[in-house]
Amino acid sequence: MATVRLYVTLKPSLLDSAGRTVAGSLQKLGFEEVQEARIGRLIELQVEPLDQARIDEMCRKLLANPVIEDYRYEVIG
């Protein structure tokens, strides 16, 4: 069985309002070096067998919305 670790993130062109709030909070806590924070989603899939074309299909059909999100993934173990 393979583990696929998927990262789904808002496209850079979109304002990430949750990320902006987190960055502001970090700055208020004294972490002034924080320029920006962006928040995404981590999805781990266990698959057997592994077919990367089908992983892409899963991302396109459900896991990521191409209008607002990018995705990438890595296969671990």
Partner: protein, 231 residues
């Protein structure tokens, strides 16, 4: 006139829609469960607000892939009327029936208040009843409409921006009148054919003066025009 009110797990404006259509307009409204795969005998579809599937993954994402949505897609492609309000708008965007997406409000807060809306398109059955600006409630955390530049150009040039958020006194769309950060102050849009309307405000919560506004009726009455078109 029979309107299907689609129910997903987590829908919570389904009863409002049912009563607005029935008590406000005299239509026959009926609930249709999301696992159904038929809209036979219906003249219109209402996709209600709420938090379908707990907003898991993305708002409307799981609902957009429910069995009933294949029927809703066929229904829409046949030119029959479909409204999605709030979560229903999110479902329509996630299903590809409308372009763009709804993301978290710029100010992060859930916003629940009555806002002024102006009909931009003046010829659609969904907007032509709005002879003056409407007062309709919004209630959402993720209502910021976004789309790419090309889509925005198309929406403008094809007269598919149905409603904009406007200032309460000037009735002009301004930055200050934009409750959630939507691009171009967009509150609702139409599909190319004009039979599908998606909007974040809740017309079904404004069907009687006793609720604070009856302005939602002018939007929901749009269903009638399509019945005549298909008669």
């Amino acid at each position: 006139m029979r309107i299907a009110v689609i129910r997903f797990p987590g829908s919570n404006c389904d009863q409002d829609a049912y009563h607005a259509l029935r008590d406000g307009l005299g239509f026959e409204s009926e609930y249709v469960w999301h696992e159904s795969d038929s809209l036979a005998g219906f003249d219109g579809v209402f996709l209600p607000g709420g938090f379908s599937y707990g907003d898991y993954l993305r708002c409307g994402a799981i609902a957009a892939r429910a069995p009933i949505m294949d029927s809703v897609r066929e229904f829409a492609e046949a030119g029959k009327p479909v409204i999605g309000a709030c979560n229903g708008f999110q479902v329509l965007c996630e299903s590809g029936l409308l372009p763009g997406a709804l993301v978290r409000n710029t100010e992060q807060k859930f916003i629940c208040k009555t806002v002024p809306l102006r009909a931009e398109n003046r010829t659609s059955p969904w907007t032509s009843g709005a002879e003056r600006p409407l007062r309709i409630p919004i209630a959402h955390g993720e209502g910021r409409y976004v789309c790419d530049e090309e889509t925005l150009r198309e929406l403008r040039s094809q007269d598919r921006i149905a409603y904009r958020y406007v200032d309460a006194t000037t009735f002009e769309p301004t930055e200050d009148s934009n409750p959630n950060g939507s691009v171009d102050q967009i509150a609702g849009i139409l599909n190319v054919r004009g039979n599908v309307l998606g909007l974040m405000p809740h017309p079904e919560r404004a069907y009687s003066e006793r609720l604070g506004s009856a302005d939602g009726l002018s939007i929901l009455a749009g269903f009638k025009a399509f019945l005549h078109a298909h008669a």
